[in-house]
Subunit: 209 residues, 4 copies
């Protein structure tokens, strides 16, 4: 709430502190997911059957784990290109972290309602997909802000290449937004698609490296 | 509880370790907020209506998220000016982290009682505002200690500039203290003002960068 | 979900970011374990007797604490040899972190069911042993991928030495897989073996250093 | 569980990775404390009176917060003197982190039983004091191991100075062990002494800096 220091000091344009803070948040968010897992009901089932019965919470856990893992990897890739920072970048990055830190909550929601099927499952999965869409939009905004006119990157891209790279970054937004719709056809299918997409991007990145 | 090492070793005046520790605490505190969010009551409402019904917990989450985000940014700005450390700085910084790590608790309090209105909402919001006031005071104390006579900064400011910078840092304290009073007129209004203030400072810093 | 940046930028082959992220996850996972400890039932027992009665949760806590501690130490040792990174390494490391972040859950399972003995205790301990086995396999895969043909290490080992080092790394997998079987003879014995093995490796590493 | 890497690689004697890991654990442990705070019972009391009624949880929170804060500061002071690492140091440091990560549990215990007074309060506070004693012992062991014959420090101290520095480090152990006994006279007094000691050491270090 005290903006004095910013005025006093020379602007620090290093991106290192943003990366370190974001890495911390990604690492914590991915590790906190486990706290939402609940013990199986062994009165009715025994441990193994009880765990199998609770499959939605593990499906949601796995999907969120790999999605946060990819977000971390992408964030790093992006920040090897971004060599300067400004306050807009700081704000957009905070927006990205907002949806990332929130993710354990819709994950919990999906874990709780997926098995029931019906309206609750669809609505829970739609909230989950919506959160992912918002984080994808934040990613696009960061990249668009950084790349436009070479604002925060080392060497400006050509106008054409600039738009192509922004378009490529908006693919995630399109896919995730589509899964909001799919949630209402089948919540389970929407989650399966998100899991498959996460694995695909992991392997696609493996291939392209 | 063992102060021997401090005596044995040359004083380490770098501020790097204080910054790294504080960054860790800010990152963890901002990520832990999600653990206080509870699932909606879907028996009565369905998922979406249930989530809407729980709006106070999301309002409190959002406000605390952006306030900790700003605190992190301010802390960094401040420590680009502070180039030496001493034990008083260490203690005052610990005091700041105390109120930061505590923040998820009053956030939970506001989430729980805001909707009820009445005395409980007012008292919960006053506790929240009080915690923010204490963290703003800790910020002011850190800056005043560092800047007085150029104690921990690179080049001493003039006496006039010194006081002006301390005054500027005490604005947050004044605003937050005011929201303690506003809590008793309307708890919701106090929280809305805190959220608006957080966004304003984010954008004001964006503008000044 | 946006792989654009990876294509735009020069590949960053440093392992530093993988290590820093993994260290964060290890530190968080080891510290989160405490959240699964529940207060003793003092109505029936008094505090001390109640705590003694809850010995399985402390046995599980201690074992998981030292196992994550060793994993952290091993991970570091491994990454002093690994000097380059690629996307396969990133993926295999994410797999290792998956089982590490999951560990507090089977720890909780063992804490809950160990005392009851019988089928529930055996199944819970088998899940715990299975998770440890999966993390040991991930460790082996990382090392095998890095060392084969000197892919990610400074100087290629001879073919013979390559296989010997991979074999040595697969010992953990063999031991942990064996404890899956032992869980069904005696869940308590399986946990005791895992604890003893953790201490042995700690001291063996102490001896070899 | 795979000690192969340690044998393959040159020993890395830097203490940086131990410090970074420990800093992470201290930062997480101090921030997790807030999760043990429970909302006041407002049915009977209203928010403020309810919070006052729950004073033991805040007393325990404050004490643990400052104790972990001091442990972090001492750990750093100690590691400015320790310039080499070995596996024994790694193990002793892990022991210190064990009691640190465990601390939120006895803190919770004290928060729960302190107000009741009587045997439960005494036993809970004795467990808390015992945990602090164990962490103080771990501190002494680390220093004794590092300093003996100049094993891990830059320049060996004289024999006399060596023992004096170890003795100074064992003061914490003596004080904490004493509070185990005091717990049975008055649990509240024992906690108050621990809080006062924490503040004293903070200020004593401030004075000596």
């Amino acid at each position: 709430m005290t903006s004095g220091a910013a005025t006093e000091t020379a602007p620090d344009n290093d991106t290192g502190r943003i990366e370190a803070f974001s890495d911390g948040v990604f690492a914590i968010a991915v590790t906190l997911l486990v706290l939402e897992l609940k013990l199986p009901d062994t009165k009715k089932y025994g441990v193994w059957t009880g765990l199998l019965h609770e499959w939605p919470q593990f499906a949601a856990y796995l999907t969120s784990f790999f999605i946060i893992g990819i977000m971390w990897a992408n964030h790093h890739s992006m920040f090897t290109s971004i060599v300067r920072s400004d306050r807009v970048l700081l704000f957009l990055n905070l927006l990205l972290l907002l949806w990332t830190t929130l993710l354990p909550f819709p994950t919990h929601l999906v874990a709780e309602y997926l098995r029931d099927g019906g309206a609750d499952a669809a609505q829970a999965e739609a909230v989950y997909s919506g959160t992912l869409t918002l984080s994808a939009i934040a990613f696009s905004l960061i990249w668009a802000h950084a790349v436009r006119g070479g604002r925060l990157i080392a060497a400006p891209l050509g106008r054409r290449e600039e738009w192509r790279s922004i378009a490529r970054f908006s693919m995630g937004t399109v896919f995730y937004a589509a899964t909001i719709g799919i949630s209402f056809l089948s919540a389970g299918a929407a989650l399966a698609i998100q899991f498959a997409l996460a694995l695909y991007y992991l392997f696609e990145q493996v291939r392209s490296a």
